[in-house]
Amino acid sequence: MHVLICGGTGCKSSNSLQIIENFHNILKEKGLQDEVQVIKTGCFGFCEKGPIVKIMPDNTFYTQVKPEDVRRIVEEHLVKGRKVPELLYMNPENKEHVSDSKHMDFYKKQIRIALRNCGFVDPENIEESIARGGYEALAKCLSEMTPEQVIAEMKASGLRGRGGAGFPTGLKWELCAKNKADQKYVICNADEGDPGAFMDRSILEGDPNSIVEAMAICGYAIGATKGLVYIRAEYPLAIDRLKIAINQAREYGLLGENILGSDFSFDIELRYGAGAFVCGEETALIHCMVGQRGVPTL
């Protein structure tokens, strides 16, 4: 059995780390530590009802769990197989408890693409990413495609930026590839400053490996060997997880010199933002990274 506990910022702030510790302790006390795996995941997207605890394989979705509820979950659910009804999500319309996320209205209409791994894998373990096919796209690009083909594929995919402008990604890459320069950089804009915005954080915290992989693919396509992530210093957890992912990727030869045995090399560094909203704008962001004032230019 697997117990997935949300370790995202939302749930962390409502004490999910204590919940994780309690699970470890109580499972040990019952001699179940080998049978039940406890995994700290990224955000499930349901922070409003956090902390979230999910039990697999029966897909039980517990909401607003408190550290002192852990004993009951272990004793009732894990040992005896009886769900703890009070902790299940309650459908606000008919006041009925819903036991698994599949039947919750909130999740019913969702198809997760970018966030497919969030709340599913352990973001601090690259192997779980690899088990879900992580880095295979990069491997494919490096071994079977030329940079031009990668760009063509990107254009054909129709992928666009998710900011207001919706700039076509393939076109952006093509322009960068054509530009001649001694050193090119891939910049990942992880400066999420809009009031209330909390989604870059989800992916950074919940699935950092997909960011690393995507940046490397972009680097290959445009001929850059260095990547920079501009990230808010107010996102300590996202920073930690990203660092872990980068280090693990290096260890596995998925980042650094001669990635996957090819002659392509690429590495990533982090740059911290001081939390100025305007620094999410491209030119301001670049100024800021090179140590100038974060003001936009034309």
Partner: protein, 131 residues
């Protein structure tokens, strides 16, 4: 850690690692899999349901059967413990009683894989309300 050297290496690695996520992967889509519910109330546990379940889980993965195992509470057949319910996709669930390791193997190889009935079936006298 030795570095991954090629796409083929990476794929081989994925294959090896995939099973660690099996439990979670399957939970996303339980309807398409064989579901086995093991009665694990006091008397089930006392009769050895836990060992049988463990044995059966190993056997299932050995045979390559994609199955989800869950524990349930009392099914009301204390006289026939350990009991378990097997639901093969598209078929009605069947409850088996007095399941020991041998019978567990039989259930997997004969019933689940080949659709043959094996001994120990308890006529189902309940219905579940589907959500």
């Amino acid at each position: 850690m030795t570095k991954v050297k090629s796409l083929a290496d990476l794929k081989a690695m994925r294959e090896k690692l995939q099973s660690t996520l099996d439990v979670r992967e399957k939970a996303e889509n339980p309807e398409s899999l064989v579901q086995i519910k093991v009665a694990m109330a006091t008397c089930g546990i006392a009769a050895g349901a836990k060992q049988v379940m463990e044995h059966m889980m190993n056997k299932a993965s050995e045979l390559g059967i994609a199955a989800v195992f869950t524990q349930t509470g009392c099914m009301g057949y204390c006289h026939a413990e350990p009991t378990l319910e097997v639901r093969v996709p598209g078929k009605d669930p069947i409850v088996f009683g007095h399941v020991d390791n041998n019978r567990a193997d039989e259930i997997l190889t004969k019933y689940v894989q080949n659709g043959e009935l094996v001994e120990g079936i308890i006529p189902v006298n309940y219905e579940t309300i589907d959500k």
